[in-house]
Amino acid sequence: MNAPPSLVCRELRLRQFRNFAELDLLFPRPGAAVIGPNGSGKTNLIEALYYLEIFRSFRGAADDQLVRFEGEAFHIRGRFEDPATGREVEVTAAYEKRRRKKVVTVDGAEPERLGDALGRIGVVVFSPSDVAIVAGAPGERRRFLDIVLSLNARGYLGALQRYRHTLRQRNALLRAGAPAAQIDAWTASLVDSGAVIMAERARWVAEHRAAFASRYERIGGEVAARLDYRPSVSGTESPESDFAGALQAELDRLAGRERERGLTLAGPHRDDLGFLRGGEEEGRDLRDFGSGGQQRTAAVSLRLVEAETIRAARGRAPLILLDDIFAELDPGRSRRLLELLEEEPGQAILTAPKASDLEVRHGALPRWRIASGQIVAAA
């Protein structure tokens, strides 16, 4: 809990991003609460800030869609300060629609690879759409894992890129009905990179299972829930597994069926996470048997665990973005989440449709009003 505070966003400048034609904001160190009706651009503001962390939309929108209607290109610039040292870092991202060209800079220089600029700030977004991680399809859960681990586990992003690339090549061969000798030539790289991904996922779940359970218990005010890694290869749940050996053996076993189906049938692209109820009905999946409130509690708990991951990996607390999350939680859960957020020392920027929802930091954050792409201090 004693990690240094987060980088704080001091300045955000948007041009032609979503519904913002021109927006220039100076943020106070503690953060801000942005109040406005639906459709005023609250989530767009959060999206712009998080874009500087992962250089794509956290809502999964294509870059084309982020350019303002009838605009040519968007530009985002953020200036962040380390309150401990006073040092600043400037991150920019721009995307031009016609040439489909994205340019990212950190302190004025373009990084050699986009991957080198990822996760410069350390940010966690809490959003109502997070419930899809718990209640949606397995792809949502893999996406969550991939983002968290790409930003916080060394070697993960490289392995993931290699794995996806190899998977496409291998599937093309399987579809074409190529002989085994050709398929095997790609299997080695699939197994190497796949084993790195599986190992990091298993390790992350094992390390954070207890934290997830306790967050869930505290917010939900009920018995804990359990987080499980569900790999596509059985017997590789524990971080001590022989991932490469097990994946290779599974691919050997499935070789015939893979050729029939024309698809790679085992590997991290078919992994899943399990969220399980405790207490009565212990072990039943929250995805199928959880109430809306329980699913949301699990999603919020997961984001708190993500914040802890960032603290552990980067030695500082994350900046917290809260996109209208209290509307979906009942009063008890909202209150208990607020208490937990007090333990998160980072700058907090939050949005809400009405002023009465704003109790984060005991309602002490400066209040801004947002309407049709403009933001002003509230009277």
């Binding site: 070697g155 496409r168 090549q169 190529a178 050709q182």
Partner: protein, 199 residues
Amino acid sequence: MGAIDDLTTELARLPGIGRKTALRLTYFLLKRTPEESRRLARAIETVVERVRECSRCGNLTESDPCGLCQDQRRDPRIICVVEDPADIGAIERTGEYRGQYHVLGGHLSPLDGVGPDELNIDALLRRLGGSGGGGQVDELIIATNPSVEGEATALYLQKLVRPQGVRVTRLARGLPVGGDLEYADGVTIAEALSGRREL
């Protein structure tokens, strides 16, 4: 379409050249003396007529077999397999290698429709074991690129030639000489660590 458009379109097909640059080149050629531009046209024609693939190793050459294949001083017991003729130049510049070469003409890439049949692999197998002076090769050095495709190609070749009893080696990966460890990228350092050797 006029002559200017035709030339611009052709130039724009060259790698690294966009429409604007192509247009600039076209006007540049028109500004020079006709003889200078004809010389360029003739050079292109000559290169297309004279240069072809060596029937033995696949290198680009004006004489078949190529100079490298004909060179009696080169060790016929070692063959270095590369993806492209340009890679031969890179290895030759080191002056460290005295064996022979074999050019695959690319790497395996199912997504681009490139399988073993599209690469110069049959000729390699013939050189290794088949008729025509084969059977004297002791070592195959696979120098395909350290990319996903290059690795898959290397592995495919290794399994393919294993029955012939030839020693198969792969170029080592690691830190660039004269570079600072501090500035090397993480993947390269990780490779160099796992491939470290006893002093």
